[in-house]
Symmetry: C2
Subunit: 256 residues, 2 copies
DNA sequence: AGATTTACTTGATTAAGGTCAAGGCAAACG
DNA sequence: CGTTTGCCTTGACCTTAATCAAGTAAATCT
């Protein structure tokens, strides 16, 4: 059903460089990176690949080299709650070191992706023996925590068109440079998926997107958006938000 | 306006015992606890006391000895997004060690409370020098993260009466023992506050609560609830939820 | 290319919750 | 003890988004 290829699992050089580029591992020594990479697997996954299911025994954690992965849980009757959709440089499954060694959510590849999987045992070893690294990990978790706080805030304070506007703004890696001049953005994954990522139905998404278009003058062609200026977007979306624009980015590079 | 008393800030014995009873500090040695307590302040706060405001410079973190504290942010036009409402044994403000040394949210006492405040510098020192403690801290943050994930899930999958039912269930410290026999619960803080904690308006809360009453046969007198059996509550509320009942508790003891 | 599936849009309808306004109740105050 | 204040409830109405149902566009397959 799903195609999976192990690209390399012995030469760690490429993956090592990549790992060091990830915020969490940025301050690791070569030796530590080598340790972490022992027994690693780099998989090329196609859309639809389930990496693990909620409740599975957790022995590995994952780092996204590129692509997009949906993190979610589902109810008995099949309804999904999307917790997050992650991309390049994001890690997941690593919190299963603590508590009961099972994954508390499921992970599914939603766009063609390269994904590195690593041993949780070695990660734990590093945390226990290198206070500096433990601190990086804490810092990384604190960052994620703030993001999730913002997420809850968005759900309660923004309406559908505003949430979409905010989503689009966060697709831009550096909004400051985007100020004032036109920009083109490609939606990173299916509209239906963006809809559930933002907690709404596909129909609502479609309608809300055209409301957003009317309100801010953006141009929509399929999954390509043309934005003359981000200012109206900010006015429209961020007015319902607390504090500081911009909200932290979704960690992608979908715009040109 | 608000009454604040420093109860003790030199004798650490009482506070030390308390600190050890908190999950996060459970494995600290006496010496470490003494270090953490250096310069601590134990305040008795009345309803309405603002402990800090989003953006304040962060030099201390807080541990709740008893009472309830609202963690929130607000938009320019005054709307509040409630991030969490914490109680006995919970800590807050400690994530400001990482990143920019400011509080990312505001904290307000919502019921009479005793609150211990401690130096972030000493916490950081402990994290950097004791891998075991760093691990406790990571574990604590992982636990919180799962809770926030559940929170997002609840907001998107449960309707108003179900969210209230779920809230009530989580007020019970150990649902397993409550199985089958009647139980009395006192709502821990104002209904209006519970409403915003659950992301709804006070009017909606009021109406949703009586729907819940009709659906599950619970009895409501002011802020006192009489529950003959929690089973109908579970049937009603948890059907919209993923996975495992019960959801993790809200960390309180409002029932008899 | 044509066929088939999947993704997206649009319209009509319904349900859920928000908003506005008024009234009741209970704790706190003079 | 009555008055005041804040909290809660109820009713009427409105807005938003979900649902149901077609229909269209786009992508995939053979």
């Amino acid at each position: 059903m799903q195609q999976v290829k192990a690209i390399d699992n012995h030469t760690s050089s490429n993956s090592g460089d990549f790992l060091k580029s990830v915020q969490l591992f940025g301050e690791c020594t070569d030796k530590e990176v080598d340790l972490l990479l022992e027994g690693h697997i780099l998989e090329r996954c196609t859309k639809g690949k389930m990496l693990f299911v909620s409740g599975d025994n957790a022995e590995r954690y994952y780092v996204i080299k590129n692509g997009w992965v949906k993190i979610f849980r589902e109810t008995l009757d099949g309804a999904q709650a999307i917790i997050d959709i992650l991309t390049e440089g994001h890690t997941f499954g690593e919190t299963s070191i603590f508590e009961e060694n099972t994954y508390p959510y499921s992970a599914e590849v939603v766009e063609p992706s390269e994904i590195l999987s690593l041993s949780l045992r070695k990660l734990r070893y590093l945390i226990e023996n290198n206070p500096k690294f433990a601190l990086s990990m804490l810092s990384s978790m604190a960052r994620y925590r703030r993001q999730q706080d913002t997420e809850i805030e968005h759900r309660s304070l923004q309406n559908a068109p505003q949430r979409i506007g905010c989503f689009i703004l966060r697709l831009m890696p550096n909004q400051n440079e985007a100020k004032g001049r036109p920009i083109t953005i490609h939606l990173p994954y299916d509209k239906t998926l963006i809809a559930s990522r933002l907690g709404m139905q596909p129909e609502t998404f479609s309608r809300a997107l055209s409301k957003l278009k009317d309100a801010t003058g953006i141009n929509i062609k399929g999954s390509t958006l043309e934005i003359q200026s981000i200012d109206p977007l900010i006015d429209f979306s961020c007015s319902a938000c607390t504090s500081e624009f911009p909200c932290k980015d979704l960690g992608c590079k979908s715009c040109v």
